[in-house]
Symmetry: C2
Subunit: 372 residues, 2 copies
DNA sequence: CTGAAAGCGCTTACAG
DNA sequence: CTGAAAGCGCTTACAG
């Protein structure tokens, strides 16, 4: 399969060989059929309130539309109105179910506005997020949701991997309005994120309510914005409960199974290991589970595990994971709404306030009486 | 969030309130800047071989493009050429990782052709697959990949759920070329599928090679095209190995965890249970694992399990599942290629011949010596 | 070798 | 109440 690479600025593909579409019924044909002008047909199709039309004429036009199977040509309409009725969404990778929920929320909202959503992945396309963004921005969409940026790290692994390490990073200018989704980039004032601190607080509070006092945290990578907020939420919840957080109880991982495995191994090797652990991310948690199994630690008998994002994976693991469900679909929906409604010049700095839910499964229980 | 429903034929949304895009630099501005006609700019941008241009002029134009940051307007180009350089892909649902791989394959191929891929999900949009297809077909794309149709059943659960039960089902006519992906619909002669029989054969042969003789099959729903082919592959492989397949050893499920759970329970309750089982689908297999655990049957000690589709889920389960990896990315890529290159009038009935691989993990082993 | 001009299919002031 | 016409930004025969 031939795969021409990114072209130099100002040059296009040598020749494209796609045959032109046959092209369907045009508004002119409908107008002729109904014996009216194209203006009337257009106004009728677009529900123009200013159009007053005799019932008889209206039904003649409607009949012509029906007979010919007329579908307005979206391209022509777009060109005339300078509006695409389409939005773009750039994600790292379609394999991550976290993005699946975000996509669905954005898609439903777009369809509800009679628009269309164009989702592209950097992994799939071989383009950088910004290259992809630029390609879409050149007249294909009215706005761009960025759930991946060139500043992202480890983006393939988790929707939460964000920028932050790269000081002063800014986005190259884009010719359409954009909005960062579930991540922030220094110097960029248009983003929407989830309340990760609250999610962390819910998770830790659940462990506290069960009676745990030695509660560890397997954190995400320091480069990820969400990881920082979840860690902060963990500390706050611990402090509120009057519990200590000795340094050894917080271990950094990288939102991967291998990272979770390593971090859990460290925790279990401590002289006085924790009885519960809040893992920043479900993928890491899967690794943590395997580490526990490998060392013969039973979950939740020896150690309880809780994490963030209630993906179906969580229910499939053994034991099935207790999680905090985040409103990812709502996030996607709200993001598209903001993108469509707010002027491009407005700063948008929103923490999405959707419902979060503690989903209790089999990985959390009270600590064993008497401890170990 | 307002969500106007599907509009009656011939009527559009009452009023749309999106402001028009400001609109970027046009080809006319570039031409003026460089002191040439728009024709020259266009030909240069499109690498027209027929254009002979003095080097001096060329660099003047290139400089103007650079200075002004000119990006050709994709809409205008599309209208003029009656070609969108875009393809659509309809799937049931973004949550299913089987589709994630198909999408990535199609996306990479589209980007390689300087095209764009527009993926829509029925679940996310609230539209039926054909409603969505029709929306995209009206001038937004040059062709449509259908990995979901109105004839699909249980489509949310698995990419393989296909039509077949609904006799005589045909697709409503679409105004652009289309191709069914990983499914067939009676009466429709444009599809691409995987070699499910071969996958089944590989799975069963692995069990035979390990020394199993009582090998069961947890089949998919009879409505799914792929389920039928996998079951056929199972029977063929058994026959080839000279093994019997008493009726009780084949149990139908429905590509869901619950279905897999029930089917496995039936098999384990047999007077003479199998020592190995080929499960038609990874989601069912997850349920089958849970059933075994619930009944105290050890895997692979008491019974080996193998399935199709090497999704990351398979590695996360306990025990990690042995699978047959299917070339889903290749399927998506090939599908887009066929759609783009073949005339709309050609029948396409292809069994994609990509590499399949046996991925051995922890759920298969030789039968215990002496049986049970 | 380069340019003037038509036209893709719509929408929308503007005129009648 | 309805229509004629301009124009969105491109591409491409055609002419010079």
């Amino acid at each position: 399969m031939a795969r021409p690479r990114q072209r130099p600025a100002g040059e296009g593909p040598a020749v494209t060989k796609l045959p032109p579409r046959p092209g369907g019924v045009t508004i002119a044909e409908v107008a002729r059929h109904a014996g009216v002008s194209t203006a009337v047909v257009s106004r009728l199709v677009n529900n123009d309130q200013a159009l007053s039309i005799r019932d008889e004429t209206r039904s003649r036009v409607l009949a012509a539309i029906e007979d010919l199977g007329y579908q307005p040509n979206a391209t022509a309409r777009s060109l005339r109105r300078s509006r695409m009725d389409a939005f773009g969404l750039i994600i790292p990778n379609f394999g991550n179910p976290v993005y699946a929920e975000i996509i669905q929320g954005a898609e439903a909202t777009a369809v509800g506005m009679n628009c269309v959503l164009l989702t592209g992945s950097s992994a799939g396309s071989g383009l950088t997020p910004m290259q992809y963004a630029r390609q879409l921005a050149s007249g294909r969409v009215d706005g761009l949701l960025l759930a991946d940026t060139d500043a992202d790290t480890d983006a393939d692994t988790e929707a939460d991997a964000g920028a932050g390490a790269v000081a002063g990073t800014a986005l190259e200018p884009l010719s359409v309005p954009f909005l960062l989704v579930n991540r922030r980039v220094p110097g960029v004032s248009r983003y929407i994120v989830l309340d990760d601190e609250r999610a962390a607080d819910m998770a830790v509070s659940h462990l506290v309510d069960l009676g745990h006092t030695r509660i560890a945290h397997i954190a995400g990578p320091s480069s990820a914005d969400t990881a920082g907020r979840r860690a902060a939420g963990y500390r706050t919840a611990m402090r509120t409960a009057g519990l200590a957080t000795p340094p050894g109880l917080v271990v950094s991982a990288d939102y991967t199974p291998a990272g979770g495995f390593g971090a859990m191994s460290k925790l279990l090797a401590l002289r006085d290991p924790p009885t519960a652990v809040f893992v920043a991310n479900v993928t890491s948690a899967a690794g943590a589970l395997h580490s526990a199994a490998a060392r013969g630690a039973r979950i939740p008998g020896d150690i309880s595990v809780i994490t963030v994002h209630d993906l179906s994976l969580a229910a499939f693991l053994s034991p099935a994971l207790t999680t905090v469900r985040m409103p990812l679909t709502g996030l996607g929906a709200r993001a598209l709404e903001l993108l469509a409604e707010r002027p491009a010049s407005d700063p948008i700095q929103e923490t999405f306030d959707g419902p979060m839910e503690l989903v209790i499964r089999d990985s959390t229980a009270p600590p064993r009486a008497g401890g170990r």
